[in-house]
């Protein structure tokens, strides 16, 4: 696993030119006058450029934040990935997955409006230069073996192929400058 740490000079962030940036959900003039920059996050807190901790209470109607840089979540994801890399899936698991994906493909191709089928043909025409690509999808599913799943997982889900991006404040964060964005 690679941990890439980007060291950020918080004063540079504060003074970074924001003029080119248009933020669609932000009162742009007010923000650019006194930008509040976040430089790190851990668990339920953000850290601002001037070193303050802010509770990340972001949540919506359907989801709530699980926190930042949670070792438990990384470990849980790792264990599932490691399992699929090291243990061949059982014939039953593969058959269930294949049934599910065939069933979804048919649902896509045969709803009452036919738009799903048109979309499939369009995808084949645009990306494969062949609308008949839609007809080959199913035979592709049947060719998947437990060995192919394992070798694919080993090729793409390698620890060395993965980056966890951690944003951490520079060790000696300078106090925030009094002035706003660079003119």
């Amino acid at each position: 696993m690679t941990h890439t740490t980007i060291e950020i000079d918080s004063s540079a962030l504060e003074s970074a030119s924001l003029e080119e940036l248009w933020m669609p959900f932000t009162a742009n003039r007010a923000f650019k006058r006194a930008p509040r920059m976040l430089v790190a996050a851990k668990d339920m807190h953000y850290t601002t450029a001037d070193g303050r901790q802010i509770l990340d209470g972001t949540a919506g109607l359907w989801c709530v934040n699980a926190g930042h840089c949670r070792e438990q979540i990384t470990a849980a994801v790792d264990s599932v990935i490691e399992d699929i890399r090291t243990r061949p899936v059982s014939a039953e698991e593969l058959e269930r997955a294949r049934t599910k994906i065939r069933s979804s493909l048919y649902n896509l191709a045969d709803p009452s409006t036919r738009f799903g089928l048109i979309d499939l043909l369009a995808v084949g025409a645009m990306w494969e230069n062949d609308p008949r690509w839609a007809n080959r999808l199913e035979s592709g599913f049947s060719k998947v073996t437990p060995q192919l799943i394992q070798s694919t997982a080993r090729e793409y889900l390698r620890p060395t192929n993965r980056s966890i991006l951690l944003v951490e404040p520079a060790p000696a964060a300078a106090p925030a400058p009094a002035t706003g964005a660079k003119q």
Binding site: S103, S112, T113, D119, L137
Partner: protein, 469 residues
């Protein structure tokens, strides 16, 4: 994978949309509706009385299996909620298999077991890969014929039911529906009680559930539909094998509701409510009667479609409400027309004034031909779309059985809609006499009642306050 590619496609299409409307050629006129033929189906009856309908249909190798049993709220004999609890328990264990095993079996066929329960029916369904259709029939047979009713699952199902009930009762829309049903059909009618009490749900034992099942589930009350691509020989043999030994059981119970005539205003106080929830109801023609289709076209034009007059007026023009709609609802031997809306408290009276105005306008002024043609075309197109999926077609066939409609109802529906003369649309509106309405308002009555009292249509009508739960 497929989903990701399709979203990428959507992005490309969005990016290539021309910037101005002037780039488009003029809008083509809608074409005349094309004739619609229902796929041929085969219906037969097993020796025990169970009905079977097979509909070869569709372009992909999937089949929908749907078992409908006339066992629902009508059969509860005052024990509200017992049929729902029984239906929920069916899926929790059957033929010696746990609920999770049943779910896994269904997943291995490419679907899941869907469960429904209402006033008239309990329904079980699954959409499976074609080659698994016989297995899907066996699985539904296990659940419907050999439920284990495991005691270990009852409390969880009961708590889920109590929680859903408590959420439902907190909604003004449920309060309005409950007040309307109790007033319109009578509180003692099974049609008049839409929710059980907590005490009722808490009182039912596993033995009550088993007794309800024994008394109400059986072959004579059951109909099995299979729609899609399937091997008819294998499917028929499996149906006989699975369901042939099912006890005939009781006949279907038929209860035609009696309606309490208006005029009546029913009020439910919800102090501080920022919106008023409205229901306006009248009797309408019985399904399949000569007045039915003209009345349905009238409904679509008045309030039942997004381009309807009431929606254009109080949503698009006045902004009183977000989603007003009307509908025609059928029970065997009975029909009703209901208008529904949630309107801002301050304009409750103003919104009703507009709705009454639209009803009166349709009653007194003939309908322009362009508007009538547009509505007939919209109804024809959406009806064909509704019947173009396996589940949708089964739903329409089940409706024919439930309501006792003629067997060619689906095939003849579109020509009937197209043939409704403009004059009949206008005449159908006269079946909504403003001096015979049932009006339900759930809202902040301190604010709303004076607005209602000021409406000329409500002068002399008795106002009654109720507590629906």
């Amino acid at each position: 994978m497929i989903r990701i590619i399709l979203s990428a496609l959507a992005g490309v299409l969005a990016a290539t949309t021309p910037a101005t409307a002037q780039d488009y050629p003029p809008l083509p006129k809608p074409g005349a509706p094309k004739p619609y033929q229902v796929p041929a189906s085969e219906t037969y009856t097993l020796a025990n009385g169970m009905q079977v309908t097979l509909i070869p249909f569709g372009q992909v190798p999937k089949a929908t299996v749907n078992l409908r049993i006339y066992a629902g709220g009508l059969n509860e004999a005052g024990r509200n909620g017992l049929s729902g609890l029984t239906a929920q328990m069916l899926r929790e264990g059957a033929a010696g298999k746990k609920g999770s095993d049943l779910a896994e079996e269904a997943a291995a066929m490419g679907g899941s077991i869907n469960l429904g329960n209402g006033l008239h029916e309990t329904t079980l369904g699954i959409a499976a890969l074609s080659e698994r259709t016989p297995d899907a029939i066996r699985l539904l047979g296990d659940v419907a014929l050999h439920p284990d009713f495991p005691a270990s699952e009852l409390e969880r199902i009961r708590q889920n039911t109590l929680r859903s009930l408590s959420v439902a009762r907190s909604q003004p829309q449920t309060a309005a529906n409950a007040a309307l049903a109790a007033s319109y059909y009578g509180a003692d009618s099974p049609y008049g009680r839409i929710l059980p009490t907590d005490e009722q749900v808490k009182s039912y034992t596993l033995e009550d559930i088993k007794a309800f099942y024994r008394a109400n589930f059986g072959a004579k009350r059951a109909r099995l539909y299979v729609a899609g691509q399937f091997d008819p020989v294998a499917v028929k043999a499996t149906i006989e094998q699975v369901f042939g030994g099912w006890a005939a059981g009781p006949e279907r119970l038929r209860v035609v509701p009696t309606v309490q005539p208006g005029p009546r205003v029913i009020l439910v106080d919800r102090p501080g409510a920022s919106q008023s929830t409205l229901r306006l109801a009248w009797p309408s023609p019985v399904a399949g009667s000569p007045g039915d289709v003209p009345f349905e076209v009238m409904d679509a034009l008045l309030g039942g479609s997004f381009t309807s007059r009431i929606t254009k007026n109080i949503r698009e023009d006045k902004g009183y409400t977000y989603s007003p709609f009307s509908s025609v609802d059928f029970n065997p031997g009975e029909g009703s027309w209901t208008f529904n809306a949630d309107v801002t408290s301050d304009v409750t009276g103003a919104a009703l004034k507009e709705v009454f105005g639209e009803i009166r306008r349709l009653q007194t002024v003939p309908v322009p031909d362009s508007e009538a043609t547009g509505i007939r075309t919209w109804m024809s197109g959406t009806y064909i779309l509704q019947n173009a999926s396996q589940g949708g077609l089964i739903g329409s066939l089940a409706q024919i059985d439930l309501l006792g409609l003629p067997s060619d109802w689906i095939t003849t529906y579109v020509p009937k809609v197209i043939a409704v003369p403009n004059l009949q649309i206008h005449e159908a509106a006269q079946q909504l006499p403003l001096d015979k309405m049932t009006l339900v308002v759930v809202g902040d009555l301190a604010k709303v009642e004076p607005q209602l009292k000021a409406l000329p249509e409500l002068q002399g009508v008795q106002f009654q306050r109720v507590t629906p739960f």
